[in-house]
């Protein structure tokens, strides 16, 4: 495996560890990251979000090449962490309950 993301988005390769397959993992990574790490991802992805989504829309969720699927997962991490950046200004839900109290019984796929 030479590339993780589609070549148009190779500049984002450094953030590929955020391309996690499940919402639980993306949430856990947000909660376990520093604000600097989260903000770096946000700043790198936000200006390219619509470009990323237009690229992904060439495919359907059911049939997508692996590199595009990784890009989708990266974009879904932006959805996850943007709330920390834009609203809470910290990784966790400010004043919220312990997030582990929300036991996930069913989660979206992908």
């Amino acid at each position: 495996m030479n590339t993780l993301l589609p070549k148009e988005f190779s500049a984002l390769e450094g953030f590929a560890d955020w391309a996690l397959p499940t919402s639980v993992e993306r949430n856990r990574k947000r909660l376990g990251s520093s604000m600097d790490e989260i903000t770096a991802l946000y700043n790198a992805l936000l200006p390219r979000t619509e470009e990323i989504l237009a690229y992904l829309d060439q495919f359907s969720l059911e049939e997508m090449p692996q590199d595009a699927r990784r890009l989708l997962r990266l974009a879904l991490s932006l959805a996850e962490i943007s709330i920390a950046v834009e609203l809470f200004h910290e990784p966790t839900v400010t004043g919220g309950c312990d997030p582990s109290r929300f036991v996930v019984v069913h989660e979206p796929n992908p």
Binding site: S23, N27, L46, T49, E50, L53, A54, L56, D57, F59, S60, L61, E62, M64, L72, A75, L76, L78, A79, E80, S82, I83, E86, L87, F88, V93, T94, G95, G96, C97, P99, R101, F102, V103, V104, V105, H106, E107, P108, P110
Partner: protein
Amino acid sequence: MKTVMANRRWIKDNLDLGTGPVPTDTCTSPELFELERDRIFRRVWLNVGREEDLPEPGSYIVRDLAIAKTSVLLVRGKDSKIRAFYNVCRHRGNRLVNDEKGFCRSRFVCRFHNWSYDTQGALKWISDESNFYDIDKSILGLKPIAADVWEGFIFINLSPHPAETLAQYMAGMVQQIHGYPFDQQRLMSRYRVEERANWKVILDAQNEVYHLPFLHITYPDFCPLNEEKFSRILNFKRFGRHTVYSVECNPDHTMTPVESVAIRVNPRGGEVHPSMIGWFDFYTVFPNFCMLFLAGTYLTYRIWPIEVDRSVWEISLYQPATSKPSERFAQEYGRCRLRDLLQEDASNHEAIQASLNSGALTHFQLQDEEIQIRHFHKEVRRHIFGEQGDARAIAAAK
């Protein structure tokens, strides 16, 4: 905007709800909790799932309802009809099905002595049958529980003789919600949150938007605010025991950059279905089922009492089925933001319960924007104390 900003608006049409403080005793008293068990949860219709949870003949789910001390087996029979049974073998009472959900090819088999039942509840096999005395399989099917479906939602009633049909129980609401495209929505997330709080403390916390500008960083200004920056709902309506309150979307609400992208790429995510009253409609279906319609999304809560100060809040989020990655992104954004919002809400429940347990508070003080809570507690008290009122019944309970 159509929202009226005037003060003390809702009481005018609901004078019977009164304006006095509301007692907290049903949130702390073990005796009253027992009355709730017998006079509410063992008598009224309870939501336990949706039709999609039982996709094909043979599909089953098991719901353990601690409040009714009952394990319920829900199964779609070979005839496609959904039925509910006590999850109990008729031989000596063993729990029949242990899995939470599954598919039954032909028979439910009790592990204890191999008694077997078909998907319609009939007893089909008794091991060593000829060694019993005058046993009649035809009257030993699984013990049925009344079950019916309303707009795709499966309800059960644990009373052997329900006082009303489900259609009667839901009267009025049928017309309101009819036509909502439930079949185009799919389950995206389900959370189970076990909390040291009375079930009504959890429900009350959701049953108003007065708290919104104060508690929620996630949505500080999504609902219309008056000149003093206090929230106002668009509508409050009662359907017998049930209620709905509705909220318009504040057109001036602050949009974040990613929220703007989500709305641009997924305009249908913001569409309000004609069956909706506002941009956000919150139905409380008595006693413990809530339906929340939020533009293109809907959620349900089932708030299950375990003990007087312990409950399980089951949150299910439904979003339109999609194959389009950009829509999936927008949905994920909405989903994450809602989850965080609910985690803000959950921060309070246990603290409130601890305060109530201390005895520091005997009554809740409720304002006009909390009329939903007033109605709800009145219904709870009416069910457990009867129409004759509180005083005598409280004395009797003590």
